[in-house]
Symmetry: C2
Subunit: 146 residues, 2 copies
């Protein structure tokens, strides 16, 4: 697994929208500025996220994007898998792989599979509500430090 910029941007965007859950939709431009993501790139990402059902949109003057589900119902794992693909560190874990044709290879595959599982255990447990709480907490701590 590798988190690309696209994946990173998607996660940050969803976290931002999670912070506005229940309020008015947020315009791409606002997200783009606040999160420092190239606007046109973010457009594409949001369209992807919309097609996947993570966010919904509203066009026109007071339009923008909002989360399609409660933050507690979206996990980090779902989003990462959708944007950046399978979690396994090598293709053979998830699908057919030309390189693996004898027993020896399985010794490694077994380990890559373990690795995949241990990653999943972490990211499939964390929801955006969790992340939101941590963010707030972090900000509070940050304020105390000032």
């Amino acid at each position: 697994m590798k988190i690309t910029y696209k994946g990173d941007y998607a996660l940050k965007t969803i976290l931002d929208l999670a912070g506005h859950f229940g309020s008015a939709p947020v315009a791409i431009n606002d997200l783009s500025k606040r999160l420092d993501i190239p606007t046109k790139f973010l457009e594409q990402i949001l369209l992807d996220l919309k097609r996947a059902g993570f966010v919904e949109s509203r066009r026109g003057k007071i339009g923008g994007y909002s989360l399609a589900k409660e933050p507690a119902k979206i996990t980090l794992g779902e989003v990462v898998r959708f944007i950046d693909g399978p979690i396994g560190p090598i293709a053979c874990v998830d699908k057919q792989y030309s390189g693996c044709h004898d027993v020896e290879s399985c010794v490694f595959r077994n380990i890559w599979s373990q690795v995949g599982n241990s990653i999943s255990k972490i990211i499939d447990q964390v929801t955006f509500e969790d992340l939101l709480k941590r963010t707030n907490k972090a900000n509070k701590t940050f304020n105390y430090q000032i």
Copy 2:
């Protein structure tokens, strides 16, 4: 982290050499055929592994490659890191990353860091001696099944 073909080939090669540890060096050609790796690509990989001190070579007629240390003293993690780079799923875990400049981002970084640690815990513990044993065991089982 993503295991590339190069990484996969390197691991399989070292495991093969581990199986020949203490015996005569193995020629690139033999490795190439046995492991089904393009010869010229394998050459490059072996040169890299040699520079890193994992293997040593001997030129000339009875030349070839052999493991430079005992199989028990080489971990999967060392080789993976050397060939395919840092373990973390995103650059920000390992070095400076332009995308991370406010507190919010740290929520994710914290998780990617956890992910990196849990991967390390697995691959830094497994040595090529372990893998060798598992291979032998697997082959034995395989034979019984026939």
